[in-house]
Symmetry: C2
């Protein structure tokens, strides 16, 4: 690691190793992250609120001994502004909560800080993690959306402002921005992490999510968030034996470039000796998209009870979501919950030998325009079944825009899924 390279480009584990080996200091990495932010933030707009360079370096220097002895060595992280922080505002992308300052850190923030991460700032979220975009641009093309709702976290990691960031997903809020921005994205199984201090949208759907540029960094953060005893010790990369391929159209609109990308990954898998099946799943996935929408509307209208007092401060789509939720009958809501669980059970019993599902992480590359965040349908089926998902970057369209794919695992089988994602990552980058 020479003094000339930009140390903000390193992944988290790579940076920790460099610090450990004395190749560079944590302060140099922090300084390079700020160089990058200062050069790019006016264009990218990833941050809602952040420390200044001086505040961040002061925080490091005032607690140098702690950071030096810590696991994460003072490495900077971004936190989606839907996640509470006691030392910075948490405004949830809404004027209703302008200047809101929580009294507690969310538990995920507590755990990262305790492991030695420095919260560099809060990243832009769409309004309450739903549709209305913030100011963030796609680092690959500033006229395109970064995707939502974890827009700022995806853009900050993709643009090498920070090595890792936290997000959350109720529909497609991690997987889609990771795909559009070309980062790794991970959504934990339902129930996997403590969601204390994360604004809920749908209690049957919400998951914590993580962004990084390498799968190994997700594994490290995950271990920290689960308070595992030896967070640096991850399992070997795992080649799946059998993968179920879903090229996209069975879920919804899919671009030809995305279908070609999925076929390219299929060819890599087959070449590596992985059995790939592409059964006709009938209407299951399309049905799950509908059930997801029903559950989300019903639950959001209860979770956002406070905010629905201020209709004039809500975007039209969010207002419509709440109205739809209030008009949804309890019977329809329960039917959707029941149907999603039934399809999940049938899927994994009918295809019992499948190790993972491969599908597009988004309908295509990031669409033009920053007034929308792209369509969420590619994530809805897995999210309503509570499954863990990893977005992998590496493929591009003709405009050199990222085309993200996703690997989906069985419920609560997150560790094995990440081992398989790490294996596939190495295939895609070689």
């Amino acid at each position: 690691m020479s003094g000339h390279e930009n140390k903000n480009k390193m992944g988290l584990k790579q940076a920790l190793a460099a610090v450990q080996q004395g190749l560079c200091s944590a302060e140099e990495i922090i300084a390079d992250c700020f160089d990058r932010i200062e050069a790019r933030e006016a264009d990218v707009g990833a941050w809602q609120h952040r420390l200044t360079r001086e505040e961040c370096l002061d925080q490091y220097r005032c607690n140098r001994e702690f950071y030096e002895q810590s696991l994460l060595k003072g490495m900077p992280v971004g936190i989606k502004d839907i996640i509470d922080t006691a030392d910075m505002p948490t405004e949830m992308g809404s004027p209703i909560h302008q200047g809101r300052r929580p009294v507690d850190d969310a538990s995920c923030v507590t755990l990262l800080r305790e492991a030695g991460a420095i919260v560099l700032g809060k990243t832009v979220t769409t309004e309450f993690a739903y549709f209305r975009p913030g100011k963030t641009a796609n680092p690959h093309d500033l006229e395109r959306t970064p995707g939502g709702s974890s827009s700022g976290s995806a853009a900050a990691v993709a643009d090498e402002m920070v090595p890792v960031a936290l997000g959350s997903q109720t529909a497609a809020s991690v997987i889609r921005p990771a795909a559009y921005c070309g980062t790794v994205g991970y959504v934990g199984s339902r129930g996997e992490f403590s969601l204390r201090g994360i604004q809920p949208l749908g209690q049957s759907l919400d998951s914590l999510g993580l962004f990084s540029r390498r799968v190994e960094d997700i594994e490290l953060l995950r271990a920290v968030l689960l308070r595992q005893r030896d967070p640096l010790n991850s399992a070997s990369a795992l080649k799946p034996s059998k993968v179920l391929l879903c090229s996209g159209p069975a879920i919804g609109e899919t671009s030809p470039e995305m279908i070609a990308a999925i076929r390219q990954v299929e060819a890599i898998l087959v070449e590596q000796g992985v059995e790939v099946i592409a059964p006709d799943l009938g209407t299951w996935l399309g049905d799950l998209v509908v059930h997801h929408g029903c559950i989300m509307a019903y639950e959001a209208s209860r979770n956002l009870a406070y905010e629905s007092r201020f209709p004039e401060q809500l975007s039209e789509p969010l207002h419509a979501l709440i109205e739809t939720g209030l008009a949804t009958s309890r019977d329809d809501y329960l039917k959707s919950l029941h149907a999603a669980e039934e399809i999940r059970q049938r899927l994994f019993s009918e295809f019992a030998g499948v190790d993972a599902i491969l599908a597009p992480a988004a309908p295509g590359a990031a669409p033009e325009g920053r007034d929308k965040t792209g369509a969420p349908h590619m994530s809805r089926p897995w999210q309503v079944m509570g499954l863990p998902v990893v977005t992998l970057p590496g493929l591009m369209d003709d405009n050199q825009l990222p085309l993200g794919i996703q690997l989906v695992g069985q419920a609560r089988d997150d560790d094995r899924l990440l081992s398989m994602a790490r294996w596939l990552e190495s295939c895609l980058s070689s």
Copy 2:
């Protein structure tokens, strides 16, 4: 309703009807609740923080028009001090959070206030809704525990200080104090309510709970919390066709008085023409008790990440819970989650025609001494399966202490369960 009666004795719906009919005013009811609190609070100790009589009446008078037109007419409610309130401290029974003042109301608080309830105060909780008791006494015998963790809510409702109160349950925190104090208690199915702003202990276990003196009041509050269109309109009481009886010993220690009480309810059911079965469930229920404990320890140790920094300010049992959780292997945790779901499915497929399960709500009457809150085993099996439960009062032991029974429904079948509970309530009181 003559001027001489104590208006605090009325149930919520009864009070609303009296106000509606001009038999008394909301202010008179509030005043009588304060008379009761002032007479009894020094002994019972239900409140952690509360409005003064003047503050409460001012709140009513300054918004008289709103309250008069509202559904709940300014009726006072108690809120367990694990649930965030923006206008009062929320200290969660721990010195770590002394004076903690959240920036937002929990969504359940928002919805009650919006419907016209006045939050009279915060009720005593055990430390983080676990074992260490607060100051509350059992109103039926001040030397006995009110049960925990929703100790203050149960005692305040039982002692007629307020008609209704909110609680929460991760193990037995609503069902047991309701049983010991002789109130109705209700725990919603997993996922039923928005838990925004309620301190989590175990994300796979936590439920919102309600206390009242009549089942109909639970139904009204539930409708408000679900934003139902016509909250006063509840279904007819429903006689179950078939009830599965669990007398207690298959779960754990059960007092002879409690077994006799359950037999008494069985006799009533049979007399009413209900089919009662009492099959041998083998080790299912005992196994569920163990699985519940494993999941609770694992998840609590992640949810209380912040608090585990302050071991000297934690009680010994809570510290031990966190240590147990950190020492629990992920495999064991996942096995417990899986086993609980498997038993749930087998139970309801093997006994498909059963409308409800009848069991003791606690091992017996409230034990002597206020240093412990009683054993939680009677609730663990249902809680780990995510089922809705109602505690019904009405039975007494030889010392005139309440013996609570519980009626358990299928997951998400809360409305039907409450209709059956209302039917059984009428049998027990006649």
